[in-house]
């Protein structure tokens, strides 16, 4: 098991109650951060969708639709040599622990309402790992999505900066 703090202190950590009316705020937060980390609009929407589905599963199955239980969302940039290469998101709860192996999406061949959340999460994200939280209470879902390209100004590496400088025409 890899606790999320193995990736350092989260850059963002928020707590919300398990009330579906706050789903839109969570989507807005995640989508906006993903945009700043280099994802295009469609990918931002898909990442927000994956988080939305994960939160819905916590509310529906973990907390039995109780409206007042805590959920935590933590966000880190995935970085390589100082450049943003993606986003890592952890969603934690205090629900009853279940075997992570049971967290499988249903087959899509049977068309029926419901049961699509885990499939959507796994389809959208590059990594989706369920695990039991430390202390015997609650689950953690860690999601990773790699960005197609780093675009964030200010995180360009020193080597890349030198490369840009070397391609500029010499002053006459």
């Amino acid at each position: 098991m890899t606790p999320p703090n193995a990736h350092g202190r989260p850059h963002i950590r928020v707590e919300l109650l398990s009330n579906p009316i706050y789903l839109s705020g969570a989507r807005e937060l995640v989508g906006t951060v993903a945009k700043r980390l280099g994802f295009d609009d469609l990918d931002c929407s898909k990442i927000a969708l994956a988080v939305d589905e994960a939160l819905c599963n916590v509310i529906r199955h973990g907390y039995g639709r109780a409206l007042d239980r805590p959920i935590w969302i933590s966000i880190w940039p995935v970085e390589h040599d100082g450049a943003a290469e993606g986003i890592r998101i952890a969603i934690e709860d205090e629900a009853k622990q279940v075997d992570p192996e049971q967290m499988q999406g249903r087959a899509l061949t049977d068309i029926k309402p419901g049961g699509l959340g885990v499939h959507i999460i796994r389809e959208v994200m590059d990594e989706a790992t369920y695990e039991k939280r430390e202390g015997g209470v609650g689950m953690r879902l860690t999601l990773v999505k790699k960005a197609p390209r780093p675009t964030e100004p200010g995180v360009i590496t020193e080597a890349a900066s030198r490369a840009v400088q070397s391609t500029r025409p010499q002053a006459r």
Partner: protein, 115 residues
């Protein structure tokens, strides 16, 4: 402002078809409004029901489930159900869930009433 005020669902006769036009985000907190409206419309046993998603900015799997349930009811009642007007983000979830072939999906209301 409550969810029922944000997500208005309008039904009106449109060239013989019943037109259902949800608005805003269709997520876990709001899909019950759409579900109830579709249920009420289908109780009238229309020949054709068009769900115009042009004003839906976002949909999650609860919205999808609502539409799957409505589609199954429509098939049983011999109602032609057509979806139209969805943006790329909404269309993406249909494709992720492999449901874009389950529904009849067209671009506009005009196409939907004749599809």
């Amino acid at each position: 402002m409550g969810d029922t005020e944000i997500v208005s669902v309008n039904t009106e006769a449109h060239q013989g078809a019943v037109l259902v036009s949800p608005q805003g985000d269709v997520d876990m907190s709001r899909s019950p409004v759409l579900r109830q409206t579709l249920h009420d419309v289908q109780a009238r046993k229309p020949q054709r029901m068009v769900v115009d998603l042009a004003n839906v900015d976002y949909m999650d799997s609860s919205g999808l489930a609502t539409l799957v349930e409505a589609m199954r009811s429509a098939k049983k009642a011999d109602t032609k159900m057509v979806l139209c007007g969805m943006n790329d983000k909404v269309r993406a979830i249909f494709e992720i869930a492999r449901l874009h072939h389950f529904f009849t999906i067209v671009d506009s209301v005009d196409e939907a009433v004749s599809a």
